[in-house]
């Protein structure tokens, strides 16, 4: 079982992801904006982050990823895996996400098995 921080502003997607992650035996923490995500990352120390790229306000998923990577470096601790969830399937977007410090990039709509498989491989 892992502690997974879910950052998703879409209520329906978030609710179903929470059901899915809990069914898979994980403990979840859900926030719906970038600032709360960075704070939760700093104070609650999740084992993995599932992060939506497009969020309202100035702090989108890429900025959140960079802030989280900065926190990892400040604390001199191993990188917490970050998986980006996005509707943008272009190669440039994928490269920008991984360049910001994410470990995996999943395009919506995705298969549940694919997501759970990626989570397992990032945690192992």
């Amino acid at each position: 079982m892992a502690r997974i921080l879910l950052v998703e502003d879409d209520v329906d997607v978030a609710e179903l992801l929470l059901i899915l992650l809990e069914e898979a035996g994980h403990e979840t923490l859900h926030v719906d904006n970038g600032a709360a995500a960075v704070e939760a990352f700093a104070t609650r120390r999740p084992d993995l982050v599932l992060l939506d790229v497009a969020m309202p306000g100035s702090l989108d998923g890429l900025a959140v990823t960079r802030a989280m990577r900065g926190l990892d470096e400040d604390a001199d601790r191993p990188r917490v895996p970050i998986m980006l969830l996005t509707a943008r399937a272009l190669e440039d977007d994928r490269r920008a996400g991984l360049g910001a410090g994410a470990d995996a990039y999943l395009v919506k709509p995705f298969e549940i098995e694919e997501m759970l498989g990626t989570i397992e491989s990032l945690l192992s």
């Binding site: 179903l16 069914e23 709360a36 704070e39 926190l71 919506k108």
Partner: protein, 331 residues
């Protein structure tokens, strides 16, 4: 109520902006040309102005110069991609920030909120500004980077002070030079500013390429992008879902691209719901039954949401075909 003067000669832009700003609680005035804009700025004393640079007659730059000669009203400039020079001239003439077309409404609202904050700065409270990875005490004049105190020169400190007290706002070179160096140091140049900024960045452990605190706005100035710390006690607990509001009632003012984004999210959720139902098929435990009931309820809501989105998109398509005023709100 905050009064905003929108200056643009494109009716579909002023129409969409008026609708979006009114919904956010602003009192909106519109001017379709430069002369009218200057008149309205003088007679109705707006709290904020949004000025498109391309205007017939008196252009946006002239409007800014004239208004700035007697008013400190914050001015947000709208510029096209090909107007880099005009944008810089507008900022030098006294505009406070700019947005490049096409822009999103979320960003527009955030910029306007930032300008309002600059116009009426909030109480400073304890003088502490807490950002993720950085803590600044404006009273004690100390700064801690990841818990370790950083030693700044007086100039670096004044720069940091201006930046953290104007979060998310574009601070132009000219504005910073005026604020950080007094008039006796009139020979300070942008090169000197850049040099101090570089050394401040180094002390904060920040990078110009992947900024956590100070972002360079090419040709214009700098913006503080440090993430403000959220008090720990407002975070939810593990296992607790955040409730949000459906935006279906407000779809009329949402840009087509955002509607499509919403639709994709709804379809993603629907697909997950179907897969979850399949996964638990045949299971008869109490937990599985409860889970299926919860997913079914969500599926029902999703079907309603998708219908609303489809109707909104259909009417948008009809507007385009009819050539009416159904253009997208500006992005």
């Amino acid at each position: 109520m905050t009064r905003v003067l929108v200056v643009d000669d494109e009716p579909q832009v002023t129409h969409a902006l008026s609708r979006a700003l009114t919904r956010e609680g602003y009192d909106v005035l519109v001017a379709a040309d430069g002369e009218r804009a200057v008149d309205l700025a003088a007679t109705s004393e707006p709290h904020l102005m949004i000025v498109d640079l391309s205007l017939p007659g008196l252009n946006g730059l002239e409007v800014i110069k004239r208004v700035r000669s007697w008013s400190q009203c914050p001015i947000l400039v709208l510029s096209g991609v090909t107007q880099e020079l005009a944008k810089v001239q507008a900022l030098d003439a006294g505009a406070d920030d700019y947005l490049q077309k096409p822009f999103g409404l979320d960003e527009l609202h955030a910029r306007l909120r930032a300008l309002e904050r600059r116009a009426s700065p909030a109480e400073e409270g304890s003088g502490r500004r807490e950002f993720v990875g950085l803590s600044v005490n404006l009273v004690a004049r100390t700064v801690e980077v990841a818990g370790v105190e950083a030693r700044l020169t007086p100039t670096e400190w004044r720069l940091l002070e201006e930046l953290v007290t104007h979060p998310e706002q574009l601070l132009t070179h000219r504005w910073l030079l005026q604020r950080v160096w007094d008039s006796t140091h009139g020979d300070e140049t942008r090169d000197a500013l850049r040099a101090h900024l570089r050394s401040l960045r180094a002390k904060l452990g920040d990078s110009a390429h992947a900024p956590r605190f100070i972002r360079t706005e090419s040709g214009a100035g700098y913006r503080w992008v440090g993430v403000q710390s959220v008090p720990e006690n407002v975070l939810p607990e593990w296992g607790e879902a955040v409730e949000g509001e459906q935006t279906a009632a407000e779809l009329a003012g949402v840009a087509t691209r955002e509607l499509v984004h919403e639709l994709n999210n709804a379809l993603t959720a629907m697909r997950m719901a179907v897969q979850l139902m399949r996964m638990s098929d045949g299971e008869s435990s109490e937990e599985s039954t409860a889970m299926r009931a919860s997913v079914l309820e969500r599926l029902d809501g999703l079907a309603r949401r998708i219908s609303l989105l489809a109707v909104a998109l259909e009417s948008r398509a009809g507007d385009h075909l009819g050539g009416g005023d159904g253009a997208d709100p500006p992005r």
